[in-house]
């Protein structure tokens, strides 16, 4: 009866669909580079990208647009392996960049030595975020395995930050037990019995702790803890720095293969070097990362960082050894989680 009317509707829908297609604008700047990064760096790179674009314009007269992509570190590495055309990667773990290098050959194996400080322009550490007034009196790692304590941390299998958490706990226990790894494993096993929820990412854990009110202590990157404090409720939470923690070194690298094929090597290299400049280092400290060159940072920013004994990944034999030992399928983390625990 009204098939014409209906056919008309169909046609309209098709036309609207194709109009939508046409409306995708192609607003390309002179040069575009893509920085594939992990979750907690968004705020920092937002500021840094603007600063770099300004400098690049002043130096060369070219307009550069920096696109960014954020997500879990491992997932981001996988996207690059599968063909995401990143010019630079700025990830949470050395192991993730190693994986890109090994799988694609787009990054040379010696990438880590190409920039200063093991290619880590900023570092961080693992701290505790507790509720206001620290009602449970949590001071150090040893308190976390008390009966009345629940600990929130993301899953080390899916979160780079959580691997640093895990190793920091291990480092403390090994230190406290005169280097006994078996004792350290006992402690960490006990610790994870106090973890009621394993979120897949660091930001998810923060939300669980802050918004849902679960757990007594959140294990977090120092920069994330400060950011949460600032964004989510200054005065509702406090940061506790443990006696021993780990020096978390998020590395950066040029993806040579992509940058060369796009002809962006020059600007991408300049971008990474700018991270080490005074401007870059100042921004690093402003966003709660520990700068490689403290002298470039503002004094009040530096004053926020408590002194803590920092173990490094080298004490675990480097990521090449620690990654398979602790976090591979069947590794120590998997052994901790056994059925009927």
């Amino acid at each position: 009866m009204s098939s014409n009317g209906f056919a008309g509707m169909l046609k309209l829908a098709l036309v609207v669909g194709s109009l939508q297609l046409g409306s995708i604008g192609l607003a390309h700047a002179d040069t575009t580079i893509l920085n594939v990064s992990y979750d907690p760096t968004r705020e920092f790179y937002k500021d840094f990208n603007a600063a770099f674009a300004e400098k690049w314009k002043a130096d060369t007269g070219e307009t550069v647009t920096i696109q960014t992509s954020h997500g879990g570190s491992g997932k981001q590495a996988r996207s690059v392996i599968d063909g995401l055309p990143a010019d630079v990667v700025t990830l949470a773990l050395e192991a993730d960049i190693d994986a890109i290098a090994a799988a694609t050959g787009k990054i040379p194996a010696d990438w880590k030595t190409r920039l200063e400080n093991n290619s880590s322009p900023y570092t961080s550490t693992i701290v505790f975020l507790v509720r206001k007034g620290n009602p449970k009196g949590i001071k150090d790692w040893g308190d976390l395995v008390r009966d009345d304590i629940q600990v929130i941390t993301p899953n080390p299998k899916t979160s780079g930050g959580a691997r640093w958490n895990f190793l920091a706990a291990w480092a403390w226990a090994r230190n406290a037990n005169n280097g006994d790894d078996a004792k350290a494993q006992e402690y960490v096993t006990e610790l994870f019995k106090h973890v009621p929820i394993l979120d897949t990412g660091a930001r998810g854990s923060t939300t669980t702790f802050v918004q849902r009110g679960l757990g007594d202590v959140l294990l977090a990157w120092e920069n994330e803890a400060y950011l949460a404090l600032e964004e989510l409720g200054p005065g509702d939470f406090e940061i506790v720095t443990p006696s021993v923690s780990i020096k978390a070194e998020p590395p950066v690298a040029l993806v040579d293969g992509n940058a060369d094929s796009k002809g962006t090597r020059k600007v991408a290299e300049a971008y990474l070097h700018y991270l080490y400049s005074d401007v870059g280092q100042k921004l690093v400290a402003k966003h709660y990362y520990r700068p490689f060159k403290p002298q470039a940072a503002a004094a009040e920013d530096l004053a926020r960082f408590a002194d803590v004994k920092l173990i490094t990944i080298d004490d675990f034999g480097g990521w090449k050894e620690a990654q398979p030992k602790f976090f591979a399928d069947g590794g120590i983390f998997d052994q901790i989680y056994k059925p009927g625990r």
Binding site: G72, G74, K75, A77, R78, I81, A99, A103, N155, K157, T158, V195, P196, I197, L198, D199, T200, G204, Q211, R212, G213, L214, F327, A328, D329, D334, Y337, K338, P339, R341
Partner: protein, 285 residues
């Protein structure tokens, strides 16, 4: 049907309706391009493993546990949806009440709302400090961050499947059948259980199967509300993601393949039951 199939085997029953070749051709082409080739890519990847590796990767204890959790919670959620979905559909088709059209429109919400949003909203509600969670917490009932939370999320994502498959069939029910049943002395309960429900069975089963299948694979909403503890509330899709984060593509594809085969078998069985019961009880053709 049965009598005709005695004559000789044929691919298709004769019909005066045209367009079979074109319609089936388009269907198969599209199916092959969009669904079968990508999925066979998955099987091809996991077949590179060899049998013993495949078995080892696909059926280790952790995987079996995750599969049990996924299939168990999906079954419970699909049953809940079947029961309440049929009631809801009946109410929407037969009764009048204020706001009926709004409710009717809202049934599709789970299709439209991104699963991650659903997960966050449900967690907000069912967490111990949420509206519902805070009511249940004093009673010692915990929903969020337990397997019960997974069921809640899966009920949400699966609900429209049952309602929307059952509803149109209910609308088509001929009231003369009910009148006839009443005339023959059946009370209302008997009419419903003996006459109406069997007729709704095919659609109900389809809805159940779809809700179940959707639930087994659901990821976005579940990870927010599940707690994700290995052996307790770790679902199979999360385990796939974990294997991928380990850059362990073979293990990921192996689990994916097992899930696909199980879901497919289930869907196939239910579609066959449905085809059979359509011939036995169904309306129309």
């Amino acid at each position: 049907m049965a009598s005709r199939s005695h004559t000789r085997w044929r691919f298709r029953q004769p019909s005066v309706i045209p367009g079979f070749g074109l319609a089936l051709g388009v269907t198969l082409t599209w199916l092959v391009l969009i669904v079968l080739i990508p999925i066979s890519g998955l099987f091809w990847r996991s077949s590179g493993l060899g049998w013993s590796n495949f078995i080892a990767l696909a059926f280790d204890e952790r995987t079996l546990n995750a599969l049990a959790i996924s299939f168990g919670t999906a079954t419970i959620a699909a049953i809940v949806n079947l029961v309440f979905g049929v009631v809801l559909a009946w109410v929407l088709v037969r009764y009048r009440f204020p706001g009926k059209r709004v409710i009717d429109a809202m049934v599709d919400l789970p299709f439209a709302l991104p699963t991650a949003v659903a997960g966050i909203a449900l967690t907000t509600l069912y967490a111990p400090n949420g509206w519902i969670g805070s009511l249940l917490d004093p009673l010692g009932i915990k929903i969020a961050f337990t397997p019960a939370g997974i069921v809640v999320a899966l009920v949400f994502v699966g609900l429209p499947f049952v309602v929307r498959t059952v509803q149109p069939v209910m609308e088509e029910i001929d009231r003369e059948v009910e009148e006839a049943a009443a005339t023959l002395g059946a009370n209302r309960f008997q009419t419903i259980t003996r006459v109406l429900l069997p007729g709704l069975l095919p659609a109900g089963l389809t809805g159940f199967a779809l809700a179940f299948a959707r639930g087994v694979g659901e990821y976005g909403s579940v990870i927010f509300i599940a707690g994700n503890l290995p052996y307790v509330s770790e679902i199979a899709p999360l385990l796939i993601v974990i294997r991928l984060e380990e850059f362990n593509y073979p293990a990921a594809t192996a689990i994916a393949a097992v899930m696909l085969i199980l879901s497919f078998t289930m869907l196939l069985v239910i579609n066959m039951i449905q085809a059979w019961s359509r011939r036995r009880y169904g309306y129309g053709s």
